[in-house]
Assembly symmetry: D2
Homo-oligomer: 150 residues x 4
């Protein structure tokens, strides 16, 4: 599906919001691509991000599934809107065993109030990509609300 952004500056708006999220810095997440209704985020392996077997923690995988969706949806929202996650559901299908986590999210429906997205998370090991998790996410657009804290 092709989406038309409501704001010319959707890319700048997403990048600035991403940079205000200190948790993204803590886990060293990188905003790789933003298109209208699409977002991609990468997280390189770091032993600080692991669970008991030394793989990416499900919490990191879920964070990326949610955040890619949030920004895929945010790219289509009004200039003066902010975005919140209402809920999400994620299936963890393969261990996060690899050197890089890649999250990609696409908008399924961009409604007046609610936006629905699907995210896929891939794990890259020795350069080979594998589906690691899949999520379905509901976002709400808060109109006339600033995204930043100031």
């Amino acid at each position: 599906m092709k989406f038309e952004p409501k704001s010319d500056h959707y890319h700048k708006k997403v990048r600035e919001s991403f940079e205000r999220q200190k948790f993204m810095k803590l886990i060293n997440a990188k905003l790789i691509d933003v298109q209208p209704g699409y977002c991609e985020i990468h997280v390189p392996y770091d032993s600080n991000l692991t669970q008991q077997h030394g793989f990416f923690h499900a919490g990191v995988i879920s964070t990326i599934a949610d955040n890619t969706a949030g920004y895929a949806g945010f790219s289509l929202m009004e200039k003066d809107s902010s975005v919140l996650t209402v809920e999400f559901k994620i299936n963890l299908m393969a261990p996060g065993d690899g050197e890089l986590l890649i999250g990609k999210s696409t908008v399924l429906k961009n409604g007046r109030t609610l936006t629905i997205c699907r995210s896929e998370i891939f794990i890259v090991k020795n350069g080979k990509e594998k589906l690691c998790a899949a999520a379905q996410i509901t976002l709400i657009e808060l109109k006339n609300s600033t995204d930043g804290s100031t």
Copy 2:
């Protein structure tokens, strides 16, 4: 519901697994309580854990919802089993605006292969607790499998 642990050392087993999760250290999560079929984890506020408005990031909230469930379920599993999250769904109901995040999870059903839990996440602001998120989680028990990476 009352559950009988299959292993005497359920508490020690959970604590050791928790301590092997380096991501728990990164976000400064504390394992507060483990009972058969129950787990409680706390995360004190830290600006490194925030989203764009300076509140706890949904990724941190989700991590705690999942991890409390994982250990609530793990407390009931065989001594030689390990646990994986199959999937979870979380509703974010109030902003993570406060000084402490409290996650509590309870087992709904402990089956032979699958265990279902419900988690509630509370945010404490000026000492007052508020429901922040609610989740429903499916776990799988992997028999004859070590929990650790060694």
Copy 3:
């Protein structure tokens, strides 16, 4: 949690909406109880409602999980509002093997736009009740919108 209905006629409003749902008649569902933020629906066994093993079909169980939530939430909404299910997630934990299906739903949060509920579905066999399924549901309140089709 105790909820205050915004409309005196919440009980009548729910009952009338329930009676307009022809699918409830088809599956012979009965509206048993409505309180502010709570709803209970029963479905007696009928071989027309079964899956391949002769038990209640997951579709019937899900229908009741969703509908009890819808009316638990609707009981708290404005007089001139209608309700829609945004999404729900259900875990099927035991076969629907019995003579009666009982659905109960409780509101977790009643927000301005969105309402979150949890439903439990019990199966009664030889008079003994067993937890069959558990669901978590997101509803949206559509203000100044009629519930009926006329």
Copy 4:
């Protein structure tokens, strides 16, 4: 993704199981297509299947989302296995306002024990198809278990 069925008779196996589900007959559901890892089911409009506005009831939409997934997964399972839905999550994105409901489901991952699917439900009005709902489903394969009740 391309899947190899483990049983030559996957098509026959699915059709026979579908025909044993009396609830499918009650709602007049038709099994339209089965491929390895794929299933499509149609339900023509009938006023008995409606909610309060005269549209397809969310319970019918959910039933189809779940059942297409169940059979998409079942098509890949061993000859002597049966299938159960562990859980599913569905987003209802547009009213079921039309003359035909079309459900399509695709397997995302076919594991040893668990299979994950995604379903899309379309509503056809005046011949025009529209995305009505999207679901993500977890199935479990029960080995050495008959699908039928006899």
